[in-house]
């Protein structure tokens, strides 16, 4: 598979770039944040994105999807990353939708995936319990209760959980707290009795919820995949999440870099553009090289997922590690190169810095993915 986009993919990228520039410029995120929008994203924008088919990109036509791949979803995420466009594309489609695609049975997909593709149903993934991404570290318990289950526990960092219709919850039906075995995924109604959701505003203007599960009833029909085998499913979902999020990060960082480059050419000090100072030039060139590497590993990971490549998981971890390393180093440099104006709220570059920090940690930071990569390669 050549590491270039096909003509169709190039076209999708163009369309996405234009749409995002026009309908979701960075001013929109600023407005949502300043007005403390209850959703944290524009419902109107989201329904336009859904009409464009973005909410169903990797899903089959029978659920209303576009029957494309993660490469295409990544292309769109990269473009939404450029303007930091807030939408449930990551939470509901990349993470939630992928869980249904990979773990849902026919009935479940029909029932929920169709809503996801149409943009009407919002999903959120509730797996994290501690401060760090650590998928098997689950204390939330699922106890059998007649022909169903009762869930008890608490989750943190449930991105877009405050607006989700359904929550995909990782709970332990067996085993000890950090064991891989014994996890089960449930797709529970967010309005079910016992579900507590508290919105938390994040530093990047987006929202995540804290979830408490107080004896929440889950039916057998709400179990995704095999009971006790949730880790395998989660692994595959998180691969897609890591690669997709890396694509979004690539778009954000590339745009932050381009803005900085423009500033270096325009801002004058000592009678010359500051971009003529060699020390800044060299640092800019190093950022460029980092972004080139980033672009390659993101595309490679997305293509590998679409092609069911045996190394797809390792490639997804490589992509996320590369971008999680690049995120702070590039975003920090961009702020520093903007000088005083860079640390004011008025200038957009700070918004890129903040988003970079959130995405750096989401779904595992660079150290997490290096550890995973090393483990996959037997060392």
């Amino acid at each position: 598979m050549p590491l270039v986009l096909t003509e169709e993919q190039e076209l999708l990228r163009e369309t996405a770039r234009e749409f995002v520039a026009e309908r979701a410029p960075i001013a929109q995120l600023r407005q949502l944040r300043d007005e403390r929008d209850p959703s944290g994203f524009s419902r109107e924008l989201w329904s336009e994105m859904a009409q464009l088919g973005w909410a169903g990109i990797p899903f089959s036509e029978e659920y209303g999807g576009a029957d494309l791949g993660y490469t295409e979803l990544g292309i769109v995420l990269e473009e939404t990353g450029r303007t930091l466009a807030a939408s449930p594309l990551v939470s509901s489609v990349l993470l939630g939708g992928s869980t249904l695609l990979l773990g849902g049975n026919e009935t479940q997909r029909k029932e929920w995936l169709t809503g996801v593709c149409g943009g009407e149903t919002l999903l959120a993934l509730a797996i994290q319990e501690g401060p760090h991404h650590s998928p098997w570290n689950v204390a939330t318990r699922a106890e059998t209760d007649g022909d169903g289950y009762r869930l008890n526990g608490a989750k943190t960092f449930v991105v877009d959980g405050h607006v989700a219709d359904r929550l995909i919850v990782a709970a332990r039906s067996a085993g000890e707290q950090s064991e891989r075995d014994g996890l089960t995924l449930f797709c529970v109604d967010a309005s079910a009795p016992g579900v507590g959701l508290a919105r938390a505003s994040m530093v990047d203007g987006r929202n995540a919820a804290r979830l408490t599960l107080d004896g929440v009833r889950a039916e057998r029909s709400e179990v995704l995949g095999e009971i006790g085998q949730g880790a395998e499913l989660l692994d595959a979902v998180l691969d897609r999440g890591a690669a997709g999020l890396a694509a979004e990060m690539l778009g954000s960082l590339d745009t932050a870099f381009q803005k900085t480059l423009a500033y270096l050419k325009q801002r004058e000090q000592f009678g010359v553009p500051i971009g003529s100072f060699q020390a800044l030039k060299h640092r800019a060139a190093r950022m460029f090289v980092q972004l080139e590497l980033s672009r390659s590993v993101v595309l490679d990971a997305l293509q590998a997922l679409d092609g069911d490549h045996p190394d797809a998981s390792a490639k997804a971890s490589l992509a996320k590690a590369q971008l999680s390393d690049a995120a702070p180093s590039i975003a920090n440099e961009c702020v520093q190169m903007h000088g005083g104006i860079g640390v004011t709220d008025e200038e957009d570059i700070g918004l890129y810095l903040k988003r970079a920090r959130v995405t750096q940690f989401a779904l595992g930071d660079a150290a997490f993915h290096r550890d995973r990569y090393a483990g996959m390669h037997g060392y």
């Binding site: 994290q128 501690g130 401060p131 760090h132 991404h133 943190t156 960092f157 508290a198 919105r199 938390a200 505003s201 994040m202 530093v203 990047d204 203007g205 995540a208 804290r210 004058e268 000090q269 000592f270 009678g271 500051i274 100072f277 020390a279 800044l280 702070p328 920090n332 702020v335 520093q336 000088g339 005083g340 860079g342 640390v343 004011t344 709220d345 008025e346 700070g350 810095l353 903040k354 920090r357 959130v358 940690f361 930071d365 150290a367």
Partner: protein, 399 residues
């Protein structure tokens, strides 16, 4: 009992009687400091009282000469005072740019009249000062500043705009760099002026930072008046004064990482890491985080030891390079950024909150401080400017 020991006993006794219990609690150095000024009566009366009692003895400026309101203490005595204050966790009585920057400079280069007029109110906290150096078009290239002061006999008329004027919205006076000779080469046409902000020609507007706070303002001068007697140094000789004062500023910013921890301060790094990353055999469980913590703690030690060495060299009468403050500003602010970077890695998702329940106060505060730390490598001369200074003045590398 030596003189110093009897001084210590006296200080201890006095502090015991005069430092109110409320002034012995942790506080947030940035927002809870007492900064005095004409509006000081609006501030916490206990803090005001504490400052006034200390100022009576000149202990807000312990080593400054008595004749200008200072404490007249020797360095050794001042250290005793410091130690005794630290012993009871007494808050500094007064946070002030006047104390940190303007006062030392005036004592060095002001005329007798200027010292008598301006230094005592600094010591007493009666006048709050702010600094007017940068302009929107003159950041690293400070000398390209455009704010103009026209000579009108006994006074100047000032027009222009300053940026990054810290605390200008609550300040009484501003010390400013202004252009007094537009024809001269850029460094040679600048003067150093003190300007009363309590006049219609001076207005301010706060700047919101990425951390959400607004410690800085833009300050606008529209036919503002400055008295001739408030010209510091010679006419058009302001650049020399400015450079000297910048050295005091750099030391202040480089030190920011060592600020008094506030009530919302997180536990020390190793504790924090144990709390968020777990422990194994009593150690931080994550070996990569543990290595980073040790690296940072060691770097902080190295910086502190270097500052101590520099001070000891000065005391020993050795040449201390003018660029020393540049080194500390550079490394101190970068180390501070690295510290917050590590802290957010330790806190993980708990470092990503902006507001809302479910975050400890110190978690939210750490995030804000992390964002605030980005300004440290820019304000008071960017890291790039400090590197230029070191390369030129210390290493003698050619232009």
């Amino acid at each position: 009992m030596s003189d110093l020991e009897s001084f210590r006993a006296e200080v201890r006794d006095w502090l015991e009687k005069n430092c109110p219990p409320e002034m012995r609690t942790p506080y947030d150095g940035q927002t809870q400091s007492y900064w005095g000024g004409r509006k000081r009566h609006e501030q916490d009366p206990i803090a005001r009282g504490w400052c006034e009692r200390m100022a009576e003895r000149g202990w807000t400026a312990p080593t400054w000469p008595r004749e200008y309101g200072g404490g007249g203490l020797s360095r050794a005595e001042a250290r005793v005072l410091e130690q005794e204050m630290a012993r009871i966790h007494a808050r500094p009585p007064l946070a002030s740019i006047g104390l940190m920057m303007l006062g030392p400079m005036l004592l060095e280069t002001g005329t007798e009249e200027q010292k008598r007029e301006h230094v005592p109110p600094i010591v007493k906290g009666e006048i709050k000062w702010c600094q007017g150096y940068s302009e929107p078009g003159a950041g690293s290239d400070l000398a390209s500043l455009q704010t103009r002061a026209e000579d009108r006999g006994d006074h100047f008329i000032v027009n222009g705009q300053k940026i990054w004027t810290s605390g200008a919205d609550t300040a009484d006076m501003i010390f400013c760099l202004v252009r007094t000779d537009p024809e001269a080469p850029k460094h040679d046409g600048i003067s150093f002026l003190l300007i009363d902000m309590d006049q219609p020609g001076v207005t301010t507007s706060p700047i919101r930072l990425i951390s959400g706070s607004s410690p800085f303002c833009q300050t606008f001068f529209s036919d503002a008046r400055a008295e001739k007697r408030d010209l510091i140094g010679t006419l058009n000789g302001g650049w020399t004064v400015a450079k000297r004062l910048l050295q005091f500023e750099r030391q202040g910013i480089g030190n920011m990482g060592n600020r008094n921890p506030g009530a919302n301060a997180p536990p020390p790094l190793p504790e924090l890491a144990k709390r968020y990353c777990g422990t194994r055999d009593g150690r931080i469980a994550d070996p990569l985080i543990r290595d980073r913590v040790a690296r940072l703690e060691m770097q902080q030690q190295a910086i502190q030891k270097t500052m101590a060495r520099s001070g000891d060299e000065a005391k020993a009468g050795q040449n201390v390079s003018a660029a020393t403050s540049s080194s500390f500003k550079l490394i101190g602010t970068e180390c501070n950024q690295a510290k917050f970077d590590l802290m957010t890695s330790i806190l993980g998702a708990q470092s990503l909150g902006w507001e809302g329940d479910g975050f400890e106060a110190y978690e939210l505060e750490t995030t804000r401080q992390w964002l605030r730390s980005f300004a440290n490598t820019i304000e008071g001369g960017t890291s790039e400017v400090q590197l230029n200074i070191i390369a030129k003045r210390v290493l003698g590398l050619p232009d």
